[in-house]
Structure formats: structure tokens, C-alpha cells
Amino acid sequence: MSTTALRQTLTLCFPSDLGYIPAMRKFVADVLTAHNFSSRYIYRSEIIVDEVCHNAVMYGSKSIEAEIVLIMHLTEDTVEFFVQDEGGSARDVQQLKSAVEKPRLETMSPGDGKIGLEIVKMFAEELDFAVGEDNLTSVRIVRKRDISEAK
């Protein structure tokens, strides 16, 4: 095993289609398992990837050729995810931006909109939204391994 500090990047690109999301989130779970993250950490990461990718499909580009890019930067105790898509309408992009940047709800009820994103906020140490050139939208999530998490 390498004695150098772990710092690795995986970049996954897949069609913007809900049907691909299960395979992608399970891939993320399997990669984190291979890196000995706890089952709780893995489950929460899976939920995050699921919910953020779901939003990217539903509110991103409507082109049938649209793709989603999922990037994982791994270190010993942190995973940084980027979920990027080509961006939907100006309205959709603005709504998503607002939903991400709004403070996390202290209590939720199932009738609240964008429940998935609130769950992500609960689990993420950092959550950012950016819109770049050509309407490329990017959601960044950072999760730190909790020292108390035992596998």
C-alpha cells in the first residue's frame, strides 16, 4: 500500500437520464467501500449523489444528448463531489441556485419542495452552486470522514 497521502480523482460522464443514476450511485458506494469509509458515510454519500444527479437530470439541459459529469476527489478523510451538467433554462438554473443557497431548513415536512436537496444539506459539510461559461452548472459537495464513524 502506498505510503504517500491519498489524493485521487475519478471522473464519470454519463447520459442525463434517470435510469443511469442507480448504477452511478452504486459505483460511488463501491469506490468508497474500497477506501474503507464507514457504511453510514457510504449510504449518505450515495443519497447525495442520487439527489444531486436527479436534480441535474430533471432541471438541467433538455437536449437528448445532454450528459452529466460526476467528479470525485478523494483524500484519506474527505470526498469532494462535483456534479456538472449543461444547465437548463435560466429559470431552472436560478431556482436550483436559490434552493442550494437557501439556508438549510431546521425542520422539514414531506410537503416541502426540493426535499432531496435539504437531505443533501443535512449530510454535506460544504455545498456550493456555480454557473460557468455556456451555462455549465456545477454543484460541489464536500463530506469529511467522521473519526467516530466505525465500519
Partner: protein
Amino acid sequence: MESQIELEIEEIKGYSTARLVKFVGDLDATNVEFVLEKVVNLQNEGFVNIVADFKKLRYVNSTGLGVLLHFNKAAKEKSGSFKIANVNENVYEIIEIIGATSLLEIYDDLTEAIDSLAV
């Protein structure tokens, strides 16, 4: 293209209007319609009391939770019930986060859930 889920449906002795539904796999946006069809059909066939065993349900996302809440609502409209047992801690945490623990009938184990049918 769907995530794998199976539903195993069994009778519950002594309760003619109830069915035990064992969820096996992951419940997410890609298979909610399959699950919706199965459970709604049961409810409409007169099995208005559903006991859902989540022992082998590994994963639920917000879309899956939405369907569970739908079953709960549909059951109440038919004067029935939708009870859930054996929820793993990860799934329970998601239910708790969205504030659904007070809306769904959740039991620690299957026996408790089935016994509550008598109430």
C-alpha cells in the same frame, strides 16, 4: 432502466384484509412505478392493511419516500393502514430528516407491526 427491487407478498394469518409486503433491494426514482402498481393494486383488491417489511430494503431516496407517503395516504382514505417494520438505521435517518416519522407508522419489528393490526 431500473434499479433492482422485488416485492414478496404474503398473507397474514387471521387478517383477511391485510397483506405482508417484503421489500427487497433499493427503492428509488427508477422503480417507484413498479412498486406503486403492486401496492396500489393490493389496496384496491380490498387488502387495505399493508404491513411493509423493510428488513431487506437497503436504500430509499426522496422519491421512494414520496411513494411510501402516497401508500400511507391511500390506506387512510380506504380506512386501512400502511405499517412499516424493520427499517434499517440508514433508511430511518432519511425518513426522520424529511419529517415523516410522525406520518408513517413505523415499528421496530414485524411482530409488533402485525399485532397492531388487531387494535
